[in-house]
Amino acid sequence: MTTIVHIVNQFFAGLGGEDKAGMPVGVIEDVAGAARGLQLQLGEEAKVASTVYYGDNYFHEHKEDAMKAILEAVRSAQPQVLVAGPAFNSGRYGVSCVEVCNAVANALGISCVTAMHGENPGIGTYLDFANTRVYCLPTAETTVGMNDALKRLAKFAMRLARNETVGSAQQEGYIPRGIRRLEQTDRPGAERAIEMLLKKIRNEPFESELPMEVWDEAPPAAPLAQVKERRIALVTTSGVVPWGNPDRFKTYRNTHWRKYNIAELKELEPGKWETVHGGYNVAYMNQNPHYGVPLDALRSLESEGAIGPGKLYPAYYVIPGNQGSPAVMRRVGQEIAADLKKDNVEGVLFVAT
């Protein structure tokens, strides 16, 4: 008999509305609220061993405690699969469903399925995690779609419990996590392309193999008041390094960064530096490294007073940026940020090629 744990918020556990959103994590042995509907859909095939609930606000305001309690409750029920939601267009609930699924999948190694509307903010979190064990099914915007959502959740949960191979997002109807796998198909790309173009010309429906992406907003960091009194550092992806490439940077796909001393230098002498980068013509940069590391201009502005004395950080940071994977660049960015903050740097001049 397959065991399932159902994660819901206080409202869908039947315990109250917005006024009860501060409720801590609780466990109901057996089914309650929406879990009853899920059990109905599962029929004899599986048993919802417990319903774990929490107040939407409580979850986000006491995340560490909430997660601990939820993981403990799930662990003790020993389910084969976890179901969370459906959250429809409820943002706090949607995000919490995804976060719980991600934590359970990582900590306990079980597959999880949740469901929500395509515009729920939880989808952004779902894409960020890109967890191969966590699936999200699309639903209607409101609880009008409850029956349908529970039916599909039940079916999908059973497939996961049976360890069935899950196909692509398009085949199976779940929301893609942005994990792109390399596969062979039965037709060459050239043939698929001509067919796709003809469909498009004839105004017939077609399916693009590469969806367009929208990057999320990053709220701007606060501006610096009186920049000449601030500590400023230079970071660059141009690939300018000391001659001989002492830290063995490659011309592409680098994974490490370095900082090089410029404290006593007024400028970068050509011949003492070289450019390691495979993505652009480095002849100009080699002739004049200032195109990527504008030290001459920085020193000049320093002598004018536009940059305070001693305020220019005594080293510049570099990683040749060609074909760097975004995940690596994110980590590098975090590491450099930590290093800069350790030394009280307040603003960054970033030169990209």
Partner: protein, 80 residues
């Protein structure tokens, strides 16, 4: 990468010739670089004008760090 620096609270003035790409990835303070292989200057100019252009680009970057912005904003270095 510059977004991670910003997330940590450090304002970043990004000098790049490819400002449409910078805008699309939502970098917030973007300074127009001259060209991809030489963002901070122009080798076709005589040396002193090239140096002056570079100072102007860096000066604009400093101004960008002082500026209040609400989203991706492009700062164009003035003709020095």
């Amino acid at each position: 990468m510059s977004k991670e620096l910003e997330k940590a609270g450090l304002p970043v003035a990004l000098v790049s010739a490819m400002f449409p790409v910078a805008m699309q990835v939502r970098a917030n303070r973007i300074v127009k670089g001259v060209s991809i292989p030489h963002p901070c200057g122009d080798p076709s100019l005589p040396k002193d004008l090239d140096a002056r252009l570079r100072r102007e680009i860096v000066r604009t970057a400093l101004k960008a760090l002082e500026a209040e912005v609400t989203g991706p904003t492009v700062f164009s270095p003035g003709i020095p």
